[in-house]
Amino acid sequence: MRQPELDPLRALVQRDQDHECEGFGAARTCVRVVAVADLPTRFGHFRLVGFWNNRDAKEHVAMVHGEVVGGEEVPVRLHSECLTGDVMGSLRCDCRDQLTEGLAAIRRHERGVLLYLRQEGRGIGLINKIRAYALQEAGLDTVEANLALGFRDDERDYAVGAHMIHSLGIRSIRLITNNPNKVAQLTQHRVVVSDRIPHVIQPNEFNRFYLETKARKSGHYLEAGGAGRLQEQADPAVVAREAGQEPKA
């Protein structure tokens, strides 16, 4: 472990001890860097940075690869927590593929950050997500019902994400996304987005979600009643036709 004075990430913890600003977004959320440690993963070696926030008990984290503090054009991916997808491997959504591909994409660059935004919590969160799935099964899921169940507050994610990027001292980012609106949202929060990197999922034996897409198209279990699927990540899925091939749009 490097000495704090030599480790730019650990220096942020000291800097943020009494950080307070007027906050970001409608909820005026303010975050602090509070803990840093190494995190070896099956995707490679990351450093895990823990953030405290002044609004709720959700502990957002950043997975950092390479030297990013003070950096320019740092590849950044925003991922919204999805227990069923990320951990349980649910095929109701493509969150797990989006997460693993996001981490792989960051590792392909010299440096980069994945912001893992916690959103599922008590009350509104996992239980209401199960309720949303139950409505889906009955063919009764609508945009209104999903809104009432707490899906989903992108605005909040962008505000928190923007503050985290500023807290990490990143001067400008290359945003890994297929959603141009994300760029506009972050820009509103004074994040300099120099470039957008398309987020393309490479099909392989593990991302069975896309294999299931065929089943869905033929009216199988994922889209009972033909109603729109819950959009759990703000990114529309873009899949390479074959490994290595860029998609059309």
Binding site: G123, L135, T142, E144
Partner: protein, 342 residues
Amino acid sequence: MTRREGSRVLVLGAGVAGLSCARALADAGRPVEVLERARGVGGRCATRRVEGQPVDFGVAFLHGRDPGFLAALAEVPARRLDGWPVAMLGAGRPCQPEAFTPGESRLAFAEGISAFPRHLAAGLPVTLRANAVAVEPEGAALRVRLEGGGAAEAPVVVLALAAEQAHELLGTVPGPPPAVASARALLDQARSQACLALIAVYPPEAQPPAWHCCYPDGSRVLQLAVHDSSKRAAPDATVLVLQAHPRWSREHLDDPAWPERLLEEGGRVVGPWAARPRHQEPHSWRHARHDRSAELAAPLLLGLPGGARLGLCGDRFAPGGGVEAAWRSGRALAHRILQEVP
């Protein structure tokens, strides 16, 4: 007089949610009308006079932390009892545990809790004793049929009722359109809890207890005993309100002997004197409140095939539950109506 413009909004239910919604719409210049089936406003923020003395037999005290909600409470022209309840007895779990967490404000009014809804209603056109029994699309509007034969019509109708009452009324929409079926299915997934409440008035020789609220531990019957008369400026009599546990309440809703059994438990928990009031008034709240497991994030504003809009708000439709959530959900729905319905 300012001219009111935009689509007329008909709000069903004059609880805190309906009134906060109507208030926000009226303040923004929208024509709005409130229909309430009871003889007074407030819903579960309920105060009645017993021998001339106000008694809160629904919510016992208000609590919250939303700056807008606290500002709305600060405008109420009544004697505030800041911090109430202060003196507590018992180590039982409060019905609203977050009421006693740091950062939460608590208060009551000497004139009774209903001072808050009455203030929200001031100046609003509220029709009392108007019980809505059916909602039917009528071209680009919705027609609300009332018990006794009357009807009212508007392009926007808001159901500001307890979730179960809204569920029932949605069941009268013919069809029903997918948006309505979906909303009903949503409300069907989580239920409110019941609360049997008993007002007990004691003879002059009864010494008023030293506590404001008692959450007994180790009782499956009595959840909360409220020393209601301690909120009054110069009470003529000592008054307690006993609230039963949700489970026990549900099991005894149809048991005519529940008041006696609740009193007996009151006597066991707070002292024998409490079992012997000289006067008592029972009230069964079928849909009193819900816990965190049943809360939703936002109100609904459904679009119906003819173009009419049907809104739903109430304590279920904002995080946190209780009066604060009811108030916030009403405001949030008003905001959406102002943005989405010209």
